[in-house]
């Protein structure tokens, strides 16, 4: 039985400029890196080093508290300061500033690499917690916590390599170049957590990666499915990928774990595998630097904490003044005010859009009731009615329209020919309803 999700949109892929470029090392190395104390969406962190201390690659800088994730030095050198710096998620947060000595000396006290036979569930959780792995697809949810909740009662492990956002190719390249590691990691996680079924989900625009994975699956002879579906945004969203693989619909107040599914990004799986089999913490990640304004778009292997400016320098700088710079894909990414913000654990792309590429934010015109927003919403909402009710102040109609179900994928705003900021209106309606519900 083949499942699919409802709605969705087909944005222009724009992946051609980077999809054939291997992940390259960052060159030149950044002079100093800025590693934010907080890199997970939950919990806090407690510093372990003080300004002036020497650090080496992989050495813990902070320990996660309240279920948070720890951070590790991604270069060797000296901690210059612990001060408030701009954070790519918006605003400014405390961060370690580490001066790079260019030596890249590894830390000596790393835990030893494990062998396939000796890995147990507790060891997996412990290692993941130590390595500071957070959701690398965008959510930045502490992975150790997720694995702990999932242990024992999931039946499906979904490895999310969909990468449905336009422009971004980091996961595609990672899946292509590190297929072996990712498959091994997924196999171990599934074994430890007791998942009966493991599915790698990719989209049809990554056929070379699909081929590579298929070849290795046949060679290894492991029990794993490869699910390739037609490109449609937002396949990579958790609820939609669960629906595509299992046909189960996750209600708004539940998570995928309640539906007995665990969804992990390929980059996260790779980081877990790295921590288990090579004893390395999460210190580097793949980032796609692209957009019409970038001189030489490419995929880079970047130490976490590298300022965005260094990434651009490595790609030949800017060809023309960009209209907008954002981290993450253009559908859900965060616009950046300054290039001083660092790469964090969930930064999968740096995109510099030119004016002709954006086409968004047109002047708003009248709604012509075309109904495209209703047909595009993967959460079965009717943005047109929500917007109408909100603008006509008929808040008594909102509860029946469930605006709180919105996953902020932006399909409605994308598809609207009248340029109405539907996603914003739906968000406002959801907030209004929650406020009304608690008051």
């Amino acid at each position: 039985m083949k499942h699919s999700f409802f709605g969705g949109v087909h944005p222009a892929g724009q992946k051609e400029s980077t999809r054939r470029k291997p992940i390259a090392r960052l060159d030149p190395q950044p002079q100093r890196v800025i590693i934010p104390l907080c890199t997970g969406s939950l919990g806090g962190a407690e510093p372990l080093v003080r300004p002036g201390d020497p650090v080496k690659v992989g050495q813990p800088l902070a320990r996660g508290t309240d279920g948070g994730v720890g951070v590790h030095a991604s270069v060797s050198g000296r901690v210059a300061a612990l001060e408030v710096r701009p954070h790519p998620w918006g605003g400014s947060l405390p961060a370690f500033v580490v001066d790079n000595d260019g030596q890249n000396e590894p830390w000596n006290d790393c835990p030893s690499p494990l062998h396939l036979d000796e890995i147990t569930q507790s060891l997996l959780l412990e290692r993941t917690q130590w390595a500071g792995v957070a959701g690398m697809g965008g959510g930045a949810f502490p992975t150790a916590q997720k694995l702990e909740q999932a242990a024992g009662h999931i039946d499906t492990l979904i490895v999310n390599a969909a990468e449905c956002e336009p422009y971004v190719t980091a996961d595609h390249r990672l899946l292509l170049e590190r297929s072996d590691h990712i498959l091994q990691g997924a196999q171990v996680i599934a074994q430890c957590l007791g998942a009966k079924r493991t599915v790698v989900v990719t989209e049809g625009d990554k056929l070379n990666a699909v081929e590579a994975v298929e070849r290795r699956l046949r060679k290894r002879g492991v029990q794993m499915e490869l699910c390739t579906v037609g490109t449609r945004y937002p396949l990579g969203a958790e609820r939609q990928i669960v629906q595509t693989v299992t046909g189960r619909e996750t209600p708004a107040d539940r998570t995928a774990l309640d539906m007995n599914c665990l969804v992990l990004n390929v980059a996260t799986v790779f980081a877990i595998q790295d921590a288990l089999f090579r004893g390395r913490a999460l210190t580097h990640r793949a980032v796609t630097v692209t957009g019409g304004a970038v001189a030489r778009p490419r995929n880079l292997w970047v130490p976490i904490g590298t300022p965005l400016r260094c990434l651009l320098e490595c790609c030949g700088g800017l060809r023309e003044p960009p209209e907008l710079i954002l981290t993450g894909g253009p559908m859900m990414g965060i616009p950046q005010n300054s290039l001083e913000a660092p790469v964090v654990k969930n930064t999968n792309a740096l995109i510099c859009l030119t004016k002709w590429e954006r086409r968004g934010q047109r002047p708003e015109t009248t709604c012509i009731r075309c109904g495209k927003c209703v047909a595009a919403c993967p959460m079965h909402l009717s943005p047109i009615f929500i917007a109408q009710a909100l603008r006509q102040n008929r808040t008594n109609r909102l509860p029946a329209l469930h605006p709180q179900d919105c996953i902020q994928c932006g399909c409605c705003s994308y598809i609207c020919p009248a340029g109405i900021p539907l996603i914003e209106l739906v968000r406002q309606a959801g907030e209004l309803l929650e406020k009304g519900g608690t008051a």
Partner: protein, 545 residues
């Protein structure tokens, strides 16, 4: 370069289509069918379209200007309305017809409700259906490739309405060699335009497919004609305004439901109504009325087709929908109009307030009066122009004349022939469609002035009857020559009738001038029929009155 970029809302890219580009695509998609219409019915169709589009744009601009609203001509929606209106008119329609339709479409149907996106009825169809209340104008269908002045031909719709297959082959129907509205005849070109719209994602296939599917299924289930269900289905799909309606009118974004399930229900409803109206109503075509009726149900379909909430079971979804339905029905209540005529306010001397109140109330009543007047005028006009009694009386008068002039004929039909001296030439047919002869209307100079008469001549060149329809002769002197026995003396005569001798009709005494005038007229009619050029075989079919 990066000012207030945090204010920019996601998503940072958008699809390229705007309202303007969607309307432009609509125009482009209509072009093939329009060009086919021009090819079949002549250059006149293009002029008709230009007049219609121009009128729509002008009315839109004028109304927005007049009411001080922002100018919306640039979104091209008025052009689409105008083109659709022109394409749903008969090619022979006079040029004032689209102007009247445009006024109704743009001002009444569209702008009175707030303009684009707020009207509940398809403007083009609204205008078209207002014009359909002029039956004489809107049911004259020229034959393709013969120019608009040719004969009025029966459209395939009137055959289907009678349960017969049209005389055209399916290939002819597909290409558009059928009588009908300017833009609806060529099914192939309409499908081409529909394919373009689907490719460009301007419309979704839900409405056209469910609409055509329903009509096709009903035609398959209840086939008529003698060539099997499949041919009947194809003839049903390809003829009339079905394709134009299903692809271009029913999919109008504003007046169709927004929810996907609602759209499918809308299409099915349109299909059912179309099939019903085509077979059961007195009017052969039902697409327009079906779509307009379903337009009025859109609010209901939108509620019925609301998508199921993500992640809840079907049972719960049904329960929730039932609850919503109950709430919606509770919302319906009759609102008592607030009309108060208090001129004195308690505790206040009549002053400025009071005058102000009187002024507002006068204005209100004035508006009400104007609206009542306008509605009354419209009703009167509709009554006046659609007065079926007048049409019927005219019909009966013609039948009476025919029975006097050519007693054998059962009905008559206009012919395209022109001859000098004849005001009109009509052909007379027996009840089994056999051509019997021609009735020629001629004038001659009588004693008191011009004398108009109809002369019936059969195919052998013999007079079958004479009737005087208009004269200025002296009562009881000249009219002696017009009594039925005086006129019946002409019956059976042929060649040239003289006043005396062989082949003659004697003048009635005392009315010599009038008798001579009648004889002259009969002679001229005989000459006209004898010299009638009936080359260029044309298939005559009766006009539908």
């Amino acid at each position: 370069m990066q000012t207030n970029s945090s204010l920019r809302l996601p998503p940072q890219v958008g699809q390229p289509a705007t309202t303007f580009s969607m309307m432009l695509d609509m125009l482009v998609a209509l072009l093939p069918a329009l060009s086919m219409g021009i090819f079949f019915f002549g250059f006149r169709v293009l002029v008709l379209a230009a007049v219609s589009v121009g009128a729509c744009v002008l009315f839109e601009y004028g109304y927005r200007r007049f009411t001080g609203q922002e100018n919306t001509v640039r979104d091209l929606s008025a052009c689409v309305t105008g083109l659709l209106l022109a394409m749903s008119l008969p090619p022979s329609a006079p040029y004032w017809v689209p102007v009247l339709g445009a006024a109704f479409s743009i001002v009444l149907v569209k702008q009175f409700y707030g303009g684009l996106g707020k009207n509940f009825m398809n403007p083009a169809l609204g205008g078209r259906m207002l014009l359909a209340t002029f039956p004489a104008l809107m049911t004259t269908w020229p034959q393709p490739l013969l120019g608009v002045d040719a004969v009025s031909a029966a459209t395939p719709m009137s055959y289907l309405h009678d349960g017969l297959l049209p005389p055209q082959t399916l290939g002819q129907l597909l290409l558009g060699q059928q009588g009908g509205c300017a833009g609806e005849t060529s099914a192939f070109m309409l499908l081409l335009g529909g394919g373009y719209l689907l490719l460009r994602r301007v419309i979704s296939p839900r409405i056209p497919l469910s609409y055509l599917g329903t009509v096709a299924a009903l035609a398959l289930l209840f086939p008529q004609g003698d060539q099997g269900a499949l041919v009947w289905m194809c003839a049903n799909l390809l003829s009339g305004g079905l394709l134009l309606g299903a692809i271009f009118m029913a999919t109008d974004p504003t007046t169709s439901p927004v929810t996907p399930r609602g759209q499918i229900l809308f299409g099915i409803g349109c299909g059912l109504l179309t099939a019903l109206l085509r077979s059961c109503s007195s009017y052969p075509e039902g697409v327009g009325w079906a779509i307009l009726t379903m337009n009025c149900c859109v609010w209901l379909l939108d509620r019925a087709g609301m998508p199921r909430r993500f992640g809840i079971s079907r049972f719960h979804a049904l329960k929730e929908q039932w609850e919503q339905l109950r709430q919606s029905t509770a919302e319906i209540r009759f609102v008592k109009p607030k009309l108060s005529f208090r001129f004195h306010q308690a505790g206040k001397m009549p002053g400025e307030d009071h005058l102000e109140q009187i002024r507002t109330q006068t204005r209100c009543l004035g508006c009400l009066g104007v609206v009542v007047l306008a509605v009354g005028l419209m009703l009167f006009a509709v009554h006046r122009f659609t007065d079926l009694n007048t049409v019927r009386a005219e019909n009966q008068r013609q039948q009476a004349l025919l029975s006097q002039v050519m007693p054998q004929a059962a009905f008559s039909s206009e012919t395209p022939y022109r001859a000098s001296g004849a005001l009109s030439i009509t052909a007379g047919y027996s009840s089994d469609n056999q051509l019997l002869g021609y009735c020629v209307e001629v004038q001659s100079q009588g004693f008191g002035g011009v004398l108009t008469m109809q002369v019936g001549v059969n195919l052998n060149g013999q007079v079958t009857g004479v009737a005087v329809t208009d004269h200025k002769e002296t009562r009881s002197v000249g009219t002696n020559a017009m009594t039925s026995e005086a006129l019946s003396r002409y019956i059976g005569k042929s060649g040239t009738i003289r006043s005396s001798g062989d082949n003659s009709v004697d003048a009635v005494s005392g009315a010599t001038a009038t008798s001579r005038a009648i004889t002259d007229g009969v002679n001229r009619a005989l000459a006209i029929v004898a010299n009638l050029d009936t080359e260029g075989e044309v298939e005559y079919v009766d006009s539908e009155v």
